[in-house]
């Protein structure tokens, strides 16, 4: 009986430790769904960026850098974009958070949101720049700016859901 409990406990631990990675992969899939809302398609929020940022801040141990790389790899493959710029964008976001982790540990929700504005701006700019270089063409940045704004607006909703999920897990 006790051994069985141990097994369940261990399974539970494994499930918890891989859930950030899989939830973020799921976000990549969700952002692929055709929503069929007029003119929204070019400005869908960068959901994977939100996932990577959130867990890099709150559980950096569960969002290691190789996981960020894999998420970026799958995202770039599935969106059909140039392979690479999206990965570097996510890596930049992760690296910025890890660099200032001590600041994030003490920060309130609003402060983290403001920090997300800066990190997302850096991440999307890097992706944009590298895409332009890879395509050897000037990609109009206006839709990207709207995508940035939509991503900022989506952050609190998703972060709230993630925090609720985390609390349920830790009860």
């Amino acid at each position: 009986m006790r051994q069985e409990e141990g097994l369940w406990h261990r399974l539970d631990l494994v499930a918890r430790s891989i859930s950030p990675f899989f939830v973020t992969l799921l976000l990549v899939l969700v952002s692929l769904l055709p929503l069929r809302i007029a003119d929204l398609s070019p400005i869908v929020p960068a959901l994977a960026l939100i996932g990577v940022f959130f867990w890099s801040v709150h559980r950096p141990d569960l969002m290691p850098i190789w996981a960020v790389f894999l998420i970026g790899f799958v995202q770039d493959l599935l969106t059909g974009a140039v392979l690479g710029p999206g990965i570097v964008g996510l890596l930049v976001a992760h690296a910025l958070v890890v660099w200032q982790l001590r600041f994030f540990l003490a920060a309130s929700f609003a402060v983290i949101w403001v920090a997300f504005m800066l990190v997302a701006a850096a991440s999307l700019s890097v992706t944009w720049l590298l895409t332009c270089i890879a395509l050897m063409a000037y990609v109009e940045p206006a839709p990207l700016f709207f995508q940035y704004l939509v991503t900022l607006a989506f952050y609190p909703c998703l972060a709230w859901a993630f925090l609720r999920g985390q609390r349920l897990f830790h009860r």
Partner: protein
């Protein structure tokens, strides 16, 4: 599994910081490596891409159906509110279309008679494959959609994808059960077209905006807003005469085209299987070069470079 405290981080930091910095450099380097591979060896990237897309498509297919139903319900509710106005508009349109139908019938008969008279070579037959749009990545960098038909349904690279309104794009990648359609508006899209009543040749180039641009128009061409743009059939990729859109703006900065396709409500695409020999030969060449390259790569990497062009030359009729 509690949050690490400040002191824990301080103790572990010097070693961890080095390791994480190294990992960051390594992975950023790997990403740049992938970018280079994507530019030089498109086969590997394409195969990986189609493999991953094939895995994901059944999931997207299952999930996108309720999304479709939901947006269908919203649309229906919207249309109820303007039913009578729409009815009126449709009646007027119907009357107008009936006139056009008569004109088209007359022209069709005349055309057939003239073709018969001048012994023109008939166009190849067209077959259609209908597929549902299951994925739309969105974003600022690409304009593509995923469809739930692939190699096993007869979809091939280069085929035209159309809706009831007009040309939407062309098939760019094909997996077993999925395919990616590069839309007209994508920055990589180039379609040979014919513009206006004078039938001037041009190339329609996407730039990720909703209005693709007309390029390489001859200096004598006179293009006005409202001119029709259709596929020209040059290059043998698309059948000639597929409607694309109308010229919306002519200015110093360029000529823009407004496509007929309603991008927001593109639920089903028809893939045109146009049996033209030109593109099939090209595919055979690429296939042969690819097989030779992989076979040679297994023996010696240096030989692969020499074998690939030779195989391509052999495949050429």
């Amino acid at each position: 599994m509690n949050k690490p405290t400040g002191s824990e981080i301080r103790v572990a930091s010097p070693l961890k910081a080095w390791a994480s910095r190294f990992a960051l450099l390594l992975l950023v380097g790997a990403a740049f490596g992938l970018m280079l591979i994507g530019r030089t060896n498109t086969f590997i990237v394409e195969d990986t891409r189609t493999a991953v897309t094939d895995m994901v498509t059944p999931i997207l297919d299952a999930v996108s159906q309720p999304v479709d139903t939901f947006s269908g319900v919203i649309e229906q509710a919207e249309s109820f509110t303007r039913l009578s106005a729409e009815n009126q508009a449709l009646r007027e349109q119907n009357a107008r279309l009936l006139q056009w139908q008569a004109v088209a019938r007359r022209l069709e008969a005349e055309n057939a008679a003239l073709r018969d008279l001048s012994k023109m070579v008939p166009d190849p037959a067209m077959n259609y494959i209908t597929a549902r749009v299951v994925g739309d990545p969105g974003g600022a960098f690409v304009r593509t959609v995923l469809i739930n038909a692939g190699d096993r349904n007869g979809v091939e690279k280069g085929q035209a994808a159309i809706t009831g309104d007009g040309l939407a794009g062309r098939v760019a990648e094909v997996g077993q059960r999925s395919a990616r359609v590069l839309l007209l508006t994508d920055i990589n899209s180039r379609v040979p077209v014919i513009v206006g009543p004078a039938r001037d040749r041009a190339v329609l180039a996407g730039d990720n905006s909703n209005m693709p641009e007309l390029l390489y128009l001859g200096p004598t061409a006179k293009v006005q807003p409202g001119d029709y743009v259709t596929t020209s059939g040059h290059g043998g990729v698309f059948p000639p005469g597929l409607p694309i859109g109308v010229v919306s703006a002519v200015s110093e900065k360029g000529i823009r085209v407004d496509p007929f396709v309603d991008w927001a409500h593109m639920e089903v695409l028809r893939i045109v299987d146009y049996e033209m020999t030109g593109i099939l030969d090209f595919e055979a060449q690429v296939g042969a070069a690819r097989a030779a390259a992989t076979a040679a790569a297994e023996t010696t990497p240096a030989a692969a470079v020499e074998v690939a062009p030779a195989a391509a030359a052999e495949a050429r009729p």
